[in-house]
Amino acid sequence: MTESLFYFLASLTLLCALMVVISRNPVHSVLFLIITFFTISGHYILLNAQFLAAVNIIVYAGAIMVLFLFVIMFLNMNKDSESRVKTSTLSKFAGTIAGGLLFVIMVAAVKDTTIAGYNADTFTSQTGMVETLGAVLFTQYLLPFELASVLFLVAMVGAVMLGKKEAGEQHF
């Protein structure tokens, strides 16, 4: 049951991720990206990581993608402005060859790797639960956690500084 669910979710994820790139309409791309985040949250739930699943939806689908959609609606990009960007035959060739090379390198890289399975003796299903996660974050990984929060604070202050009104500028 879980295995078929995994393959269903994985194929849905890949399909939606592809549609993000293929869609002509940027709003459709954003919507497919949102579905992709949902399927990834589904993977987290399969791994019994409820907290990550919920946070993934709140942060990515609920906040960041709303901002994406917001900006794209403002830019008013539609099919007409998209088709004006012409791709020459040369760039298509270059793109195909570069993509093919990347694919070969990936095959070569994957060939020799061994994928670490889980050890049934040491495996705990509670790893993804919010209590365990919190305990680990605030003991073992306290320093990186605090440093990351400082980084976010700096980014926030920077964003506020950039968006600040210049002296004499009037918005309303």
Partner: protein
């Protein structure tokens, strides 16, 4: 899971779904009656006794209206928009504990659809998705007023979600749990969170008005500036779904406020009442059933409060809305977190 348990859960979810729709339906009637009462009018009184059939008449009218899709709109997204608004609104009541447990035939039955240990995050995630219905519908209409409404909805929701999340953090610091059932159980009797978190409650209440797009924060559909805002181009039952989703959101927001701050299904002297019965099973069931009634009484009070405010306060200006969100509510929420932290350090 046992099949009995599965059947019970399925029935329970259907019942909650039905109750949600019923309450949302009669919220439209209550809204017009409350408006009439506040403005010293009679209100709807033609369809049935006291106008009680009015919501059915309204819905019937909606269904028979012409279905209109603008020529240059994005047809698929135009249809999906109200659907998303409705589905997301219906999803959020799944984790709310409407009552404690009943004991029937030796089996413990919890009056909650799903118990997850991240219940609060679930609600928060679903609420944050609600804005997509508005945004997609407003954008797909290919109308400047709709687009402006959609953009207002997006920026308003993002701004107020921050303050809302921070006011919830103070509650989580006190209870130490994200599970709504556990939060409800910790408020047994009269030990409600509102006594410890009055500031947090006011922030949460203000933000839920903004998240449900109710007056004084109904700028996405502000009719004096934007005709109908994001639903300018919608007609027939698609418009009905948007309006209906708003009432479901009010119901869910009221239920969440009752659960987080007003003790959910708990009421004073419930332990005394439980011990008054010689048979513990009967006592438990009586207390639980009264608890369900108490929970719904609290929810109805909050729904009434939403309406009361709507017909009392005028609408904010857009810059006032943003200023309130970013410059007043968020600093207040941070202050509330600090106060709560200090309180926990001092008294625990």
């Amino acid at each position: 899971m046992e099949s009995v348990e599965l059947i019970y859960k399925a029935v329970y979810i259907l019942v909650i779904f039905g109750i949600t729709l019923l309450i949302a339906t009669y919220s439209t009637y209550a809204e017009r009656k409350v408006a009439a009462f506040i403005q010293d009018r009679v209100g709807p009184n033609r369809a049935g006794p006291f106008g009680l059939m009015q919501p059915l008449a309204d819905a019937g009218k909606m269904f028979f209206k012409e279905e209109f899709i603008p020529a240059k709109s994005n047809r698929m997204l135009f249809i999906i928009g109200p659907g998303i608004a409705m589905i997301v609104a219906c999803m959020s009541s799944a984790v709310i504990p409407f009552g404690d447990m009943l004991i029937i035939g030796g089996r413990e039955i919890y009056l909650q659809a799903i118990e997850v240990n991240i219940g609060m995050l679930y609600i928060f995630g679903v609420v944050s998705l609600g804005v997509y219905g508005l945004m997609i519908g407003g954008w797909a209409s290919n109308n400047k007023f709709s687009l402006l409404g959609a953009i207002r909805a997006a920026s308003q929701n993002i701004s107020y979600e921050l303050a809302m999340g921070m006011s919830i953090i103070a509650i989580l610091m006190m209870t130490g749990s994200l599970s709504l059932r556990e939060i409800a159980e910790q408020q047994a009797g009269f030990n409600w969170n509102i006594w410890y978190q009055p500031l947090g409650f006011i922030i949460f209440l203000t933000c839920s008005f903004a998240e449900t797009n109710r007056t004084p924060f109904d700028l996405p559909e502000c009719e004096t500036e934007l005709i109908g805002g994001y639903h300018t181009e919608y007609s027939s039952m698609k418009l009905g779904l948007y309006l209906f989703a708003e009432y479901i959101n009010i119901f869910v927001a009221s239920a969440v406020m009752a659960t987080l701050y007003f003790g959910a299904y708990n009421f004073p002297f419930m332990e005394n009442l439980r011990e008054a019965f010689s048979d513990p099973v009967v006592g438990n069931n009586v207390v639980t059933l009264i608890g369900v009634a108490v929970m719904f009484a609290k929810i109805f009070f909050f729904i009434f409060f939403f309406m009361w405010v709507r017909w009392t306060l005028p609408r904010f200006r857009y810059d006032q809305l943003m200023k309130l969100g970013w410059q007043i509510l968020i600093p207040l929420a941070i202050l509330n977190i600090l106060l709560t932290g200090g309180g926990i350090l001092l008294f625990d």
